[in-house]
């Protein structure tokens, strides 16, 4: 880990995320030794000790590859995004949070007041003095600051320019290994990196194309929640069975793990190539196969989707065209 070696430098950072992306990187097993053999790991808060000021002290462009996971939730996230952009040659939006907002982005349905209310004042919270975080706090010793919460969570590319996108919640380990192999080969002059702006570590089709379940002409008379079903046909398309499966709009690359295991795709690999708005694509797909021409009956069938926005934008709200619901934007 000597900072003076001539090896290319590697960094990984987490903003608003859960840490699952870091686990996925470590989950490439012995391939992590290749990372160490080919890169100097200069900054990776979850794995090694390094300070922000160490990064600030580096020359611009000093880091060859930075995997940035997590959305931009507060000003600490935003400052780190700008800092790492400046210091990195290749900045990868790594994982669903950085590419499209993911689960932290679901907070974009709510106003900041409601989020703080849920976090600090609901019955499950023991907070008798109703303490709320203050961005600034003046003590005798001086002013303290904690990260300042933004009303709307943003994706990484809504804040800085991103070179590559690598979706997934988290990205599958075999995809991470393939991307690391590619970057190493490119550094050795044995391969070419894809054009900037590309989505990497993915397939070029949809989850449906990777799914082995049988597909027929779809006609749906009702949507059902998977936990309410006694029997699930193991060989038939889940959507055909009325289970709201997000496969038709979701990018391939995971190997259709969930549908093949009998659970619906929830869309963690984000929009398939060419899809502008993930949720809109799903609305098109779901509404098209409803088997009714009667508006009242259609409404009744749609009642089977109790939370359509949550269903369609579970991972993609911050990266969608609307990006956040009205309460989050404020007045």
């Amino acid at each position: 880990m000597s900072a003076n070696s001539a090896k290319p430098k590697f960094a990984m950072y987490w903003a608003a995320s859960c840490g699952g992306c870091e686990i996925a990187v470590l989950n490439i097993h012995e391939k992590i030794l290749d990372v160490d053999a080919n890169f100097d790991v200069v900054f990776w808060p979850v794995a090694m000790d390094a300070k922000y000021k160490d990064v600030q002290a580096m020359p611009d462009g000093a880091i060859t590859l930075t995997l940035f996971n997590g959305g931009i939730r507060n000003n600490e996230n935003e400052e780190m995004a700008h800092l790492l952009r400046r210091k990195s040659k290749i900045l990868v939006a790594f994982g669903s949070c950085a590419t499209e907002g993911c689960i932290p982005g679901l907070a974009n349905f709510s106003s900041p007041q409601d989020i703080f209310e849920a976090a600090y004042a609901t019955v499950s919270t023991d907070n008798p003095q109703n303490v709320r975080p203050q961005f600034r706090y003046t003590m005798p010793e001086g002013e303290l600051r904690i990260p300042e919460f933004y009303p709307v969570l943003r994706t990484l590319d809504q804040v800085v320019k991103v070179d590559y996108y690598m979706p997934g919640c988290p990205p599958e380990s075999h995809q991470i290994a393939a991307v690391i192999d590619l970057v190493i080969a490119a550094l050795q002059g044995k391969a070419q990196l894809p054009p900037p702006g590309s989505t990497i570590g993915v397939g070029d089709s949809t989850v449906c194309d990777e799914c082995k379940r049988a597909r027929n002409e779809k006609t749906i008379k009702q949507f059902v929640r998977i936990q309410n079903l006694q029997v699930i046909d193991p060989a038939l398309c889940l959507l055909e069975q009325g289970i709201p499966c997000n496969g038709p709009a979701t990018r391939s690359g995971c190997g259709a793990l969930c549908p093949l295991a009998g659970a619906q795709c929830i869309g963690c690999y984000g929009p398939a190539a060419g899809v502008v708005d993930y949720g809109a694509r799903l609305m098109t797909a779901f509404a098209s196969v409803i088997d009714s021409k009667d508006p009242e009956e259609v409404e009744h069938i749609l009642d089977g989707l109790p939370d359509p926005a949550g269903q369609f934008y579970r991972f993609n709200l911050a990266g969608s065209l609307l990006r956040a619901a009205k309460p989050a934007w404020g007045k």
């Binding site: 922000y52 809109a280 609307l322």
Partner: protein, 166 residues
């Protein structure tokens, strides 16, 4: 916009080549008046209407979207307008969850002979949206994008100044 100026909504209207676009055309040739707030876009069929178009219009600054097509049973492509209806009903639920008033996105059937009806629907919608006020989704997004972190708000400068005093 000042208080005494009247808010002029911008509405994007999607029309189908075979019925509602011709209804709008008929309204024109028959000199039926309707407000100029609507910008019509012709598609071959309301079944072409991807909800993406509606979201893009709203995200790009439109105050409302009018979707029009042939009456049920009269689609030039047999039953694509039923698809449009189902997509609209689903989209409306999603928009409600996004906090967008239901009146801002409407579905209206208009045959090629119904120039008067289409003009009336447009007039009605413009007034409804005028009463709701501007949506301004694009300026909301721009204001978030242009936020800059001044030194005064920076965590990094706070940390470094503390180190100096320590």
């Amino acid at each position: 916009m000042t208080d005494n100026e009247q808010f002029e909504p911008v509405i994007i209207g999607f029309t189908c080549n075979w019925c509602s676009y011709r209804a709008a055309d008929l309204a024109g040739t028959a000199r039926i008046k309707y407000p100029p707030n609507i910008r019509l876009i012709r598609m071959m069929c309301s079944g072409r209407l991807d909800p993406t178009f509606v979201l893009k219009a709203l995200a790009g600054g439109a105050d409302g979207v009018l979707i029009t097509g042939c009456h049920p049973g009269e689609c030039h492509y047999l039953e694509q307008n039923y698809k449009a209806m189902r997509r609209y009903l689903l989209l409306r639920r999603v928009l409600t969850q996004m906090g967008i008033e239901a009146q801002r996105v409407k579905l209206v059937w208009a045959s090629a002979a119904e120039g008067v009806k289409l003009a009336e629907e447009i007039t009605k919608m413009v007034e409804e949206i005028r009463a709701l006020g501007p949506l301004q989704w694009n300026s909301k997004q721009l204001s978030v994008n242009s936020e800059q972190i001044s030194d005064d708000r920076s965590l990094f400068t706070a940390h470094s100044s503390q180190e100096v005093t320590a």
